[in-house]
Each structure stands twice: as C-alpha cells, then as structure tokens.
C-alpha cells in the first residue's frame, strides 16, 4: 500500500522551496489552484520560476506577491480583461524575466520530462523568432531528423520542481480524477519532480474501484494531497462552480492600481483563514 499523503495547505507548501520552478493546473480563469497559491503567498515564497502554457489569474497573483523571478509561458493573458495587470508591468520594468514559449513546444518539453527523456522534437515552430530566443536560452536546439535529415526543433525536457494541480476528487494516496477540461495537467503531474494535489473532495480508494477510466494521477506520482473545497475560486471548476468574473475583474482593477496585495489579503488569504 502506498503511504497516506494527506496534508494541510501549510504542510504541503513546505514542499515548495524558495527558488523552485513551479507549474500549476488550469488555464487563465479555470481550475487554478488558488488555495495553494494563497498558501505560497502566506508562506512568503520568493524567486519562484513559473512554467505554464496559458496561465492567467494564478500567475498574476504570484507576481503581485513578489514571489517570482521568472516566467516561461506560451501566453499569459487576462483574455477580455486585458494584459496581465501586474506581470506585464514587472516584465516591462525588467524585474521579472519572461521566456516566451509556444504551446506545442511547451507540451513537447513536458512530454520529454514525463517520459524520462532529455529532449523531444516538435513539429512547426521553425521560422518564428522564438527559435532565436530559445537557442540563446539553451532550451531548444535545431537538429536534424536522424532518418530523413529534415530540420526539426528539439525541446529540452521541462521538469518543474513542483506541479500543483487542483482536482475534483482524490484518495489519500494520490489517486485523483479531474473532470472536464484537463489542459496539460495530467502531463504536468507526470513531468514534475514533486506533485501536490489539492482536491475539492477526498474520497475513499474504494469509491474509485470499478471506475472504468484512467486516473489523472496515481499514488506513485503524488507527494501531498490537500483537501481544498472551493480551492479554484475565483477561477472556474468544471461541473461545480463557474468562474467568479466579478471577483476576477475586481482583482484586475486593484492590480492595475498597484493594490493587488490588498485584494489578495482581503479576499483570497482570508478565505483560507489567514
């Protein structure tokens, strides 16, 4: 039997060290692990390197809390609510480093790590100026297909120190299920060195027996399991609650005025008793 991994937010946050690279679940305004992000802010984590495909609210909150040294993402956006209110400014001021990536290459890098490989090729990409950026950063290299001789971009494995994924339900060992859109979360779980699952519901393993579907994570992948009902708020949780766009817009307005911290403490941390 694998060991029980149940932990509080405060205990699980100890798995993330200052300076760690981190990736989170969801997309812009959906299924971000906001409870855990609150815990990271509360714990005062610094110098995190944030990696994701299409992040939104969770990323800007970490940026506003001063937790980040760098970001690697294919797109960082507040969608109809405009540019990332805080991150945009920090990047423009040169206070946070930003490495722009592209979706297929992020996926290829995560796949390489998930499959225990040093690199993966990716189709497309050639011809974009992103290639220069990444060759300089040492994250991509243009190689030749050993069979056809064709030029192709090789993406170095992206193995975040920690993945934090908010799921629908999970047993104490880390067998979890995400419902609805997955984005790359099942891949992130497999690519990261450490995995923290926050879940709307903790279930008995027996409740997962006879489930005819694949698990989003297994006990072997997971280091901590945290019960965090409502843990994606104000982002959406498929089947359970919609995005709270009023709260997101409110955050955006505070952040544009440089008062994100107020909102984070008054509205987000307070929800978790901090």
């Amino acid at each position: 039997m694998p060991s029980s991994k149940l932990a509080s937010l405060g205990e699980a946050v100890e798995l993330v060290e200052d300076g760690a690279s981190i990736t989170i679940s969801g997309i812009t305004f959906s299924r971000n692990p906001m409870a855990f992000i609150a815990a990271l802010v509360k714990a005062g984590r610094r110098d995190l390197y944030f990696i994701d495909r299409e992040p939104g609210l969770g990323l800007d909150v970490l940026a506003a809390a001063g937790a980040l040294r760098g970001v690697r993402a294919a797109m960082a956006t507040f969608e109809l609510y405009g540019l990332m209110p805080t991150l945009r400014r920090l990047v423009e001021e040169g206070r946070v480093e930003f490495l722009e990536d592209t979706c297929g290459a992020v996926i290829a890098g995560l796949r390489a790590a998930a499959y225990g490989l040093g690199f993966m090729p990716v189709r497309g990409v050639l011809g974009s100026q992103l290639v220069e950026l990444h060759e300089r950063a040492g994250t991509w290299r243009v190689i030749r297909d050993p069979f056809t001789g064709e030029e192709v971009v090789a993406v170095k494995a992206i193995e975040p120190d920690v993945a934090v994924v908010h799921a629908h339900y999970c047993d104490e060992y880390g067998n979890c299920v995400i419902e609805g859109p997955r984005y790359e979360d099942e891949l992130k779980i497999r690519a990261a060195r450490r995995v923290i699952i926050t879940a709307e519901q903790i279930v008995e393993s027996d409740a997962l027996r006879r489930l005819p579907h694949t698990l989003s994570s297994t006990s072997v992948h997971v280091d901590a399991v945290v019960h965090a009902p409502g843990g994606a708020w104000p982002t959406a949780m498929y089947g359970l609650y919609p995005a709270d766009y009023d709260a997101i817009r409110e955050y955006r307005d505070y952040a544009r005025e440089g008062r994100a911290r107020e909102w984070i403490e008054g509205r987000l941390l307070s929800r978790w008793g901090w």
Binding site: A76, E92, C103, A236
Partner: protein, 251 residues
C-alpha cells in the same frame, strides 16, 4: 437584447464565419470571443457543418447553448460537449495535418502575414509586453487555413513587425491560406502580396489602404461584406447577450 444594428465587430464576426467551410475541423483558442461567435454564426446562420473543437476542450458542443464569457478557455462557453477532447490531442492532429481552421489574433501584422503577439519594442527592453503568441508559432506551419482578426490601423498593419511570433511568410511561400478580417476589410496574404478581397460596407479602397502600413494589392474590385441581417444579429446577441464582443473596441 440591444440594438440589432450591426457594428464593425459584427461584420468581422460574419467575415470570419464565411471563411469556415462544410466538413472542416475548426479550433479556437483563448481571448477568442469573436471567433466563437463566428463559429456559432457559421453554424446557425450559414448552415455550415464542421467539427467544433476548442481550447476549452469541448467537442461538438450544442451550438445553440454556446455563450461567450470573458474567458473562451473555461467550461462555461461551450457546454454539453461530447466527452472531453484535449488541446494536446487537437495539436497532435494539427501536427498530422488534420486541422483545417484556426483563429489567431495579432498586435502587429506585416505584408507577409507575419504576426507579432510577443512585444512592442525590443524583446529585451519591451515597451509593451504582449500576452505571447500561445500556439501561433507552433500552428502557423501546420494548419491548413489560418484566420487572423485584428484592428485595421497603421499601428497594427505595419511594414515590419517588431517580433516575428507567427511565421506568416513561411505559410505564404508554401501557398497555405492565410486571411485577415479587420474592422474594415478582408485581406488575403499571397505570394504576390496582401490582396484586398473585401470591404466592410461604407469603407473605400482608399481608406483601407490609408489605414494600412503596407501596400494592398487590388487585382479586382473588392466585394462588400454584407453585414449580418436581422436574424444574424439576433443569433449573435443570443450567443453574446452582454455584448462582450465590443470590449475589444473594434467598433
């Protein structure tokens, strides 16, 4: 329900909708409220039948129930999906040449259809840090027809983009269809150059050219994009009752 009078944004929706063909595999990404409305318009007003996929990982949603939200990537926009189809799965299909249509935005676009979603100014010292190209650089070489929507002015339609996020030239040199719907016109990027294919009602060739930072080719009289009719406008409003499509200020 607000005014049924079509605005330039609504004409953009129809312009994009008309570029979707029967039987195609169509995918939209983030901040794509206008493409979502174009897909709904193509389905309901133009009767086009295609495979509807999206960054919200929906598949064949009940189109009548589609509603745009401030995010086009969440579970709210396209309910009642047939199972879940991940974006990874769709991108793999694209890499195998099986995705026909994808929509992209652009902060800048040049005469080759190269797009910039990365930065205004230099990458190292950004004037404006843009959101990033998302799948742009990955999908530009892979998808059969790329439909771009953007504002029609000289800050957007530029001689030279500050950063080549989307490799339009790569596409155009290989004869892959690359089209741009602005709030004034429909432009197709070709080996010969950007061709002015159609105009919004009341926009002249001269105005379209004056607001472009590159030379438009006009090999034949551009057609006029008829604005959505009353039924079309009712459909657009049904899918966007709050008028979120106007937030991007295309008019």
């Amino acid at each position: 329900m607000e005014s049924l009078k079509p605005r330039p944004t609504d004409v953009m929706v129809k312009c994009l909708a008309e570029l979707i063909r029967d039987g195609e595999v169509v995918y939209h990404g983030l901040t794509s409220q206008i493409p979502v409305l174009a897909m709904a318009y193509a389905w309901r007003r133009l009767g086009r039948r295609f495979t509807w996929l999206s960054v919200s990982e929906s598949n064949m949603p009940v189109v009548e129930r589609v509603r745009v939200e401030p995010s086009s990537g969440g579970p709210g926009t396209e309910p009642l999906s047939v199972g879940v189809v991940t974006t990874m799965d769709v991108f793999d299909l694209a890499a195998r040449g099986r995705v026909d249509v994808m929509f992209f935005g652009a902060a800048q676009i040049d005469a080759w259809g190269n797009t910039n979603l990365t930065v205004i100014g230099s990458y190292e010292k950004p004037k404006v840090k843009l959101p990033g190209g998302a799948a742009t650089a990955f999908l530009f070489p892979l998808v059969k027809r790329i439909l771009i929507w953007a504002r029609h002015d000289r800050r957007t339609l530029v001689e030279r983009v500050d950063f080549v996020t989307g490799q339009g030239r790569w596409r155009v040199e290989r004869g892959l269809e690359t089209l741009l719907c602005t709030n004034k016109a429909l432009i197709e990027f070709t080996r010969e150059g950007p061709v002015l294919r159609a105009l919004h009602p009341g926009v002249s060739v001269e105005e379209a050219q004056a607001e472009s930072g590159f030379k438009l080719l006009v090999p034949e009289e551009p057609r006029v994009i008829e604005p959505p009719d009353e039924l079309g406008m009712r459909i657009i409003w049904e899918h966007d009752p709050e008028g979120l499509r106007y937030l991007q200020k295309y008019g």
